[in-house]
Amino acid sequence: MDALTLQKLAQWEQAHASGNKKPLTAKEYPPMRSCQDITLKDIQPIQLTQKKARIEAVSAQEKKASEQTTSPVTSTSPSTTSEAIKSSGLSRKAYYESWDKFDVDKALEDFERDDKRSSAKPSSISTNSTKTAPKPLLSKPTGATAADQVEPATMPSDSVAAANAEKEKGNELFKKGLYVKAIEHYSASMALDPSNSVLPINRAMALLKLERFAEAERDCTLGLKLDSKNVKALWRRGIARRSLGRVDEAKKDFETALTIDPVNKAVKEELAKLKQGSTTTTPSSTAKPSATKASATATTPSKPVAKSTTAKKQESPASESSKPPVISSKRVLIKEVENDEDSELFSLGSTKRIAAEPKSTTPTASKVTPVEAAPKPVAVEVVKPTPSPTPAPTSAPVTPLTKPTTPPTTTSTSNPRTNMVAPSTTLDFQRDWKSYSKNNELLYQYIKLIQPEALPGIFKSSFESDYLSSMLTVFRTFYIPSEDPQLLYRSLVNLGKVQRFDMTLMFMTGTDKKDLVSILQHLASHVNDSTTTYSQQDLAALASKFKTTNY
């Protein structure tokens, strides 16, 4: 040690060796503070990636100004701007400036990527876009709603955490392709945390995958209610609407999405697709699933302006249970026909029928065209799967048609002119009946198509007395001479099984009753045939069902 230091030390020692010689004087202190406890809240640890990135950035260039390292992101979810600024440690100006550097594209890409990967936070912006994004003020960093932080206890933290857990499970299942189960979890998490906009939007995505477009659209709307600027929600709703055929609304959604985020490629693509597809759409089109396919199969418009869409089949995944019926998106070729009663299309010679049978899931493709006898120019009658409640006959909610199946007896039409298919619902029957009722022959052919056992299923609770009348007429006129009594018997029995049959019976006219009597008599006469299985007692029971006693 050098002499200078030594000397200094010596001086110092001399001065202080004996300590402070000043006498003790009582210093006048201000009075004691009043008790004031400070309650501390938890601090969420800063994300490791962000932190490390920060440290590396700084050590690489020591003298950089703080903007580079930015946002010491304290993850206390700040609920106000000032809190966010305060907790980020930056000055107000610097905080706002750091938002200028926020890369929206990257952020969107990130959460798109995240969503596809269904990683922990499907639509959070703040996590992966590290250095450039200051802590967003939106106090719902979607995944990280550990709301027991700065948020005043609007939400008990466990339910949010539970909601999160459900969401995670949903994401996992989504990744695996188990969409139905994923939806269950999303629904559970929505129940736990109704204010989280991500959850319905995720559920919408899963529903889109299942082609449940109406439900997906509803979920997107819900999500948008919670977060009106959510580009993802708008984009998905646009897709849903497009798939439902509501092209204009879809376009609106895509355009709104673009105004929020002008550089979103996915939205731009969708919009382009939409615009391209819409050139082949007629203005009055309503339900046109997949308008884009129309161009491929569109027939040149002749006198009736026609538009066709192809029905595409999709196997519902094996894992799906049939409980909530899966509407597989078979797009049905629909020819829009002008409502011209005199048009030759309406003449029976060239009628074509639609038969959209969603009953079973065996795929059969068929080209179908609706024939509209209804006064309004509705181009498509959309059929809902039978398990769901039959809609009122006049209104048809638009859902993508499922592939039609035909009962085994389709091909049994003997009339080469017509192309009949057995009905599957009241609607079909009603429509067909209207067109055939003028001609009993055709009606006979048509009714013959229907499997007797299917009768209750077709009519459900809307079996009208007119139908009964015409059926009875047909039975009497045609069945008796040319058909098997067994068939006739079966038909009658099943007819009796139709719901509220008793009510319908009350409307029987005299003619009907007469017909009935003759039918029964005919049946009775064949009781002992080899082909008949019914007995006298059966007939008696049948008769009482039909409220006739004498035959």
Partner: protein, 402 residues
């Protein structure tokens, strides 16, 4: 002395650290403190037998005289005119039942011959000692439920004679020296004293976080204002304003915070008001926060080990690793822009804070010991003189040339 007599010129020595004296001590000293206004050093800690030890040393260049030291030394003929190397001479020792963990002189006012020592021990008790009569404490009471890890006071500087203690129970408590702790008894019972303020989380956490270090500082110079900085073992760093009654700045530094200090304003301006806050952590990172517009903002974080501008070659070669624990950070009281950090490898790193509130320059790293230096204290009368004790149970006195 002329500069010729000195082997080094002033300019060359800047940032260099020279060792003045060192002495092995027979116990683990958690804290080595200058007794303010004197040449004495107080070392407190615990020894292998589990007892609490307070030892008082004198740094003197006088040759040891038999009467003034307990240890027998060979008598040498005094040669007063000859400049001798200063030595640490043990003056007194006190052994207590409970091991000591922390201590400070800052709680007591400076205007006394021998300031009282405030200690915190492993049973959560706080005691005040008159070191000239170290048999019995002036008072002692139970402050925390668990080890009192750290304490700091401002009584000697300004305002009220208050001190804060931080304990392993996760609480930081503010006390006033004038408080009467009769309710808590003499510390033998289990009742806790009632502090003026308790800074703790609301929910009693099973795995609460230890408070590892506290520091006090006055904000803008008024009496009421008081900032308490606390560092926790999970990396939480909180700055609490006692006047506002809330935490004004909170962040998490990922790793446990070993040491925090608010930088003192240069003497001459308002007393003990600070302008920046330095925190060091377990994994070799040091963080500086500046008080800008009344708000803290982080300026730089750096790994003390990863120096890009090493002053000497030896430092790089024997680098103890980037992730070694940074035990202590201390500002030089007379030069608040100079910060010294000790790491687990026995090095002391020096930094100078520039005007733009960034750590602009690293002045040097010096290997002072083989093992980490746990405690560091700068003398307030002699610029650059510091004392530290390391894990090798050695008391070291050094000089920082600025």
């Amino acid at each position: 002395m002329t500069s010729a007599a000195g082997s080094l010129r002033e300019g060359d020595r800047k940032g260099k650290v020279t060792q003045v004296a060192s002495k092995p001590i027979p116990f683990t000293a958690f804290q080595a403190l200058w007794v303010p206004g004197t040449t004495r050093i107080c070392a407190l800690g615990s020894n292998d037998s589990g007892f609490g030890i307070i030892q008082l040393y004198n740094l003197t260049s006088n040759p040891p005289s038999p009467s003034s030291s307990k240890k027998p030394t060979t008598a040498t003929t005094p040669a007063p005119t000859k400049q001798q190397q200063p030595r640490l001479v043990l003056q007194s020792e006190a052994e207590k039942k409970i091991q000591f963990k922390s201590g400070t002189f800052r709680a007591s006012p400076r205007s006394s011959t021998l300031p009282h020592l405030l200690t915190g021990d492993f049973e959560g008790r706080v005691g005040l000692w008159d070191l000239s009569r170290a048999e019995v404490p002036v008072w002692m009471f139970r402050a925390h439920e668990d080890v009192v890890n750290c304490m700091d006071g401002v009584g000697s500087r300004t305002g009220r004679p208050e001190f804060v203690t931080g304990g392993r129970d996760g609480t930081v408590k503010l006390w006033d020296m004038r408080q009467d702790h009769k309710a808590a008894g003499s510390g033998t019972g289990t009742a806790l004293g009632k502090p003026l303020s308790t800074m703790a989380s609301l929910k009693k956490q099973v795995d609460g976080h230890d408070v590892w270090c506290v520091n006090m500082g006055v904000g803008q110079g008024t009496d009421d204002e008081m900032l308490v900085v606390a560092g926790y073992d999970n990396g939480d760093l909180r700055v609490m304003d006692l006047r506002m009654g809330q935490a004004v700045f909170e962040t998490n530094l990922q790793h446990g915070i070993c040491s925090v200090e608010l930088s003192p304003r240069p003497q001459g301006t308002s007393l003990s008001s600070f302008s920046s806050l330095v925190a060091t952590t377990l994994e070799g990172s040091m963080h500086v926060f500046d008080l800008v517009d009344g708000q803290f903002k982080a300026t730089t974080s750096t790994s003390a080990g990863s120096n890009t501008t090493a002053m000497t070659e030896e430092v790089l070669a024997v680098q103890s690793g980037d992730d070694s624990t940074l035990w202590q950070v201390r500002h030089v009281p007379q030069r608040p822009d100079i910060v010294a950090v000790t790491d687990g490898g026995g090095y002391m790193h020096l930094y100078e804070q520039g005007d733009e509130k960034t750590l602009s320059k690293q002045l040097g790293s010096h290997k002072l010991a083989e093992q980490g230096i746990l405690s560091l204290d700068f003398n307030e009368d002699m610029e650059g003189l510091f004392v530290g004790c390391d894990l090798d149970n050695t008391l070291r006195v050094g000089m920082l040339h600025l």
